[in-house]
């Protein structure tokens, strides 16, 4: 496999984009990423377009061909990718496999979603699966993990709430985040209960948004930028669906992180920052453990210690996370990598992690038989 670098990134603000169509929203970060990388559309050899809900919500089919064509990219292989919350990072993984294998020198991924529509309600998983029919809505799935975590390790509701408070603190420093006003532990605990112990402020909000990343063979990257960011590992795994499976710890999460560390030849002690899939507060706590930032069961105490806040030992979700940015499903996994690139380039403004050299982006999606359907981990270095 060849070395793969990131030469261009782009991202829209996450939030409401009522006046912009899905196709136009998705086109914006592609234009930004090409400008950022100093690259022309004709130099791109493959395009991956990720969205999970636009088909249902907007009737979009093979949207990537329209989106990339609007940005001047046509004729080349274009593939549309759906993999639940990892749709965007799965597109990135495919682009990485193409460049790493030598098939392409330059490939692009764009992830986009437009979810702020009337009566959207909760993100579901299809009406024909038994678990959904028996009432397993997504917050319930994470509430059950929280209940087990609290029972097994003594994690408290206050520690869970501190994840949302920390990520909102970070979001205040990120102009692209949807929600930026500071919140307190009391705000989180007193918000309307969704599924005990998760309140509304413990759950990520819906959003519109899009993000794009351009990958280039390591041998050619400096042709485009003097400061390419190395994609040192790109790993995609799925669940085992063995039965019975423990909700805590999350084996698939651990297995994916371990594979990524091995591919990068790095370990958790090397990280300067990370983004993880904080769709719910409990999720970030469990991802700390899988990423090896603390031993199993210690995630609640880790956030309480301040270690994962900006200025702490290992800042997590410096972008504000899904909890503050919102979760435009197809865009999320790409946006996490955009944050990593900006941190490693020193372009993160007020939320800059000083002298960041190694960054990890973890994403996870879907629910099947008490396990995730997808999990991705990307490790970036400079």
């Amino acid at each position: 496999m060849r070395e793969v670098d990131i030469i261009g990134v782009g991202m829209t603000r996450f939030g409401k984009h009522l006046q912009t169509s899905f196709m136009d929203l998705a086109t914006l970060p592609i234009l930004e990423a090409m400008k950022d990388g100093g690259i022309r559309p004709a130099e791109i050899e493959a395009g991956f377009c990720s969205y999970a809900l636009a088909g249902d919500l907007h009737g979009v089919i093979t949207g990537g061909q329209t989106i990339f064509w609007q940005a001047g990219i046509s004729r080349i292989p274009i593939i549309n990718v759906e993999n639940a919350c990892c749709s965007g990072s799965s597109g990135l993984y495919l682009a990485w496999t193409g460049v790493a294998s030598g098939l392409y020198d330059v490939a692009i991924v764009v992830g986009a979603e437009k979810m702020v529509v009337p009566n959207f309600g909760l993100l579901g998983g299809g009406d024909t699966e038994l678990d959904i029919l028996e009432g397993l809505v997504t917050p319930a799935s994470f509430a059950m993990r929280a209940q087990r975590h609290m029972l097994q390790y003594g994690t408290t509701a206050e520690q869970l709430a501190q994840v949302a408070v920390k990520n909102r603190l970070h979001a205040g420093l990120n102009p692209l985040s949807q929600f930026r006003e500071p919140i307190t532990v009391e705000d989180v605990l007193n918000a309307p209960m969704i599924a005990d112990p998760l309140t509304r402020l413990s759950c990520c909000p819906n959003a519109d948004g899009a993000a794009a990343v351009i990958l280039c063979a390591g041998t050619r990257a400096k042709h485009y930028r003097s400061d390419p960011i190395r994609l040192a590992a790109s790993v995609l795994r799925t669940g085992s669906y063995q039965n019975p499976l423990d909700l805590v710890p999350w084996e698939t999460d651990y297995r994916t992180c371990k594979a990524a560390y091995e591919q990068a030849g790095l370990g958790p002690e090397d990280l300067d920052g990370a983004e993880c899939h904080d769709a719910f507060t409990i999720a970030e706590i469990m991802h700390y453990e899988a990423m090896g930032l603390c031993p199993a069961g210690e995630g609640g105490r880790l956030v309480e210690s301040g270690a994962t806040r900006l200025g702490g030992r290992i800042p997590v979700n410096t972008s504000g996370g899904l909890l503050s940015k919102g979760h435009p499903v197809g865009a999320t996994g790409v946006a996490q990598v955009v944050e990593g690139v900006r941190q490693l380039r020193g372009e993160a403004g007020e939320r800059q992690i000083p002298d960041a050299k190694v960054f990890l982006a973890q994403c996870m999606g879907g629910d099947k038989d008490a396990d995730a359907r997808t999990c991705t981990v990307n490790v970036l270095t400079r």
């Binding site: 959904i132 029919l133 028996e134 009432g135 509430a143 993990r145 209940q147 309307p192 599924a195 005990d196």
Partner: protein
Amino acid sequence: MSDTVKPVLEGVLEKGPPARLLGGYCPRCERKFFPEPFVCPVCQGAVERVPLSDKGILYSFALVRTKAPFGLPQPYAVGYVDLQADGLRIISLLDPERLEDLAIGMPMGLRVAPLGLGADHEPCLRYYFTPEASKENA
């Protein structure tokens, strides 16, 4: 009336009495699955339809207070129940009348009744587990 009410998903339950859950059994792997898979996901051989235990232990649960799907009562609870006799941990709706009594680790018993709507928006039979009065099955 309930004679004509369809199960929440075809082939997962029998109304009874006795009410039963139906799973798949692979004689080659000597493993059970729920719901019954198309073929054994381990060896890809044929599975037999078998009744599952009507007793379990509550592994975890969630009290859902947001808008309930499928016309379920609001709030409602959903959980994972360990069917120890079958070696399975299964997802299940929990008794909407017993939300206050739920606790991880408690013995549970199976019920089947008309509850909520199916994917076709028609009333349907759902299985759910309810806290057992006695602990003799724990």
